[in-house]
């Protein structure tokens, strides 16, 4: 009380209010972020798995992505699409970093292309697509997953991967050609 009386400029009370506001802001930022993660996490998990080709690495990469994303959480997003693009951008950067790191220093564990080991209901086609997907250069894999799996358009994909639109188109074309062949061959085998 004495501090408030002695504080001719009201700074003490102001500081306390400011601290309270900051604390509230932090709580609401955390709540917003938890909501964001809850909304996108299941989808991101699948996309990260397809991108990395390894079940073991998914948790680490997603955790790293979310930890990077949280401090940069914007106050608001223009749309749901904007929100998704922002989060996918961070997750894909982390996936690419992880894949590049692994290329430099190969993993000790049996991580590579785990999804190849357990064929699903349509073993022929899926197995073929999975093996081609694992063989694709990581830049092509990123483009085909963003466009053909997640459903982003060329512009959004270009912004997420920080590459020109034309590069998106050419990488997508190359990836689709190989995947289509694999899909057709897989179907005829079945």
């Amino acid at each position: 009380m004495e501090a408030v009386v002695n504080d001719a400029w009201g700074l003490t009370a102001g500081t306390a209010a400011f601290e309270r506001a900051r604390a509230l802001e932090a709580v609401s930022a955390r709540r917003r972020f938890e909501g964001l993660v809850a909304r996108h996490s299941p989808r991101l998990r699948g996309v990260a798995f397809a991108m990395l080709g390894a079940a073991d690495a998914v948790d680490d990469v997603l955790q790293d992505s979310f930890a990077r994303a949280y401090p940069k959480l914007p106050r608001r997003f223009e749309s749901e699409r904007h929100e998704a693009a922002w989060l996918y951008k961070i997750v894909f950067r982390c996936c690419l970093n992880e894949l590049r790191r692994r290329r430099r220093r190969p993993e000790v564990s049996v991580l590579a292309t785990e999804y190849l080991s357990e064929p699903t209901d349509e073993p022929g086609a899926d197995f073929a697509v999975a093996s081609v997907l694992a063989d694709l250069p990581i830049e092509q894999r990123a483009v085909v997953l963003l466009v053909d799996l997640v459903g982003f358009d060329y512009e959004a994909t270009a912004r997420i991967l920080r590459i020109p639109r034309g590069t998106v188109a050419s990488r997508l074309n190359a990836a689709r050609t190989r995947l289509r062949v694999a899909l057709e061959e897989g179907e005829t085998d079945v």
Binding site: A50, D56, L62, Y70, R105, V108, S109, V110, D126, R176
Partner: protein
């Protein structure tokens, strides 16, 4: 194009579920990153100011900070378990923090820890004694890696349960200690990864420890640990000791 979309969807749907404690761990990582960023910013600011005053004073100011604050220690070591017998072994021990006990005139505290080591004395003729090799204790700078016998590996192993059966949750409800001995073939190369999140004071707030062994490393042990609670998973080769 929808066939391709469907095939990709099926691949994505095989993604594994989040590991236990994923969200809790995430907020610890966020907090650790925040602390580290603040520490760096503070150090840089103080450093610049000190540099402005005197170049000699700057070093002293840098040294006064807590370099461990909010750090994540993540290392993988690998060792060859040599033995003249056909099998070698290693031990995995974990405890939770327990209240101080009065012993004689003072108190002794069990701070809780998790560590893995090989005990050469357990098998006659074992050529190496590495106790303990890697571990975490909730004391200041409480993570340690014995690099004299085991080498720091540049390759990582995954921090995941990877299908290992659960040994249960160890908390203050009676079940507080894990002490298992795992047998592996002699000359097995053991990879041990320990990831410790240090709290603001530099003490481990949580740790994850994964052990894999063999040429094509298969999972042997996985422990997610905090000073008050941990969960352990181990292969059938591990028995209570």
């Amino acid at each position: 194009m929808s066939d391709l979309h469907d095939a990709l969807e099926r691949i994505a749907s095989d993604a594994p579920p989040a590991r236990e404690g994923f969200s809790h761990e995430l907020w610890q990582v966020v907090q650790a990153r925040k602390c580290r960023t603040q520490f760096r910013l503070r150090s840089a600011m103080v450093g610049f100011i000190a540099l402005g005053i005197t170049a000699g004073g700057a070093a002293g100011v840098f040294a006064s900070g807590d370099a461990n604050a909010g750090t994540i220690v993540d290392k993988t070591i690998s060792c060859r378990l040599s033995s003249t017998l056909t099998s070698a072994s290693f031990r995995i021990d974990a405890d939770i923090k327990e209240p101080p006990e009065r012993v004689g005139g003072g108190f002794t505290e069990q701070p809780g820890d998790v560590w893995v080591g090989t005990d050469g004395l357990m098998y006659a003729g074992a050529s190496k004694l590495l106790t303990p090799t890697v571990g975490a204790k909730p004391v200041r700078s409480g993570s340690y890696f014995d690099e004299t016998v085991c080498g720091i590996s540049r390759s990582r192993i995954a921090l995941s349960r990877a299908g290992l059966p659960s040994l249960g949750v160890f908390s203050d409800a009676g079940n507080t200690q894990l002490s298992d001995t795992c047998s592996v073939a002699s000359n097995t190369v053991l990879s041990v990864r320990l990831r410790v999140i240090l709290s603001k004071g530099g003490t481990p707030a949580s740790a994850q420890l994964a052990i894999r062994g063999g040429k094509r490393p298969h999972p042997l042990v996985f422990v997610t640990w905090t000073p008050t609670r941990f969960t352990a998973y181990a292969a059938a080769a591990c028995v209570h000791s």
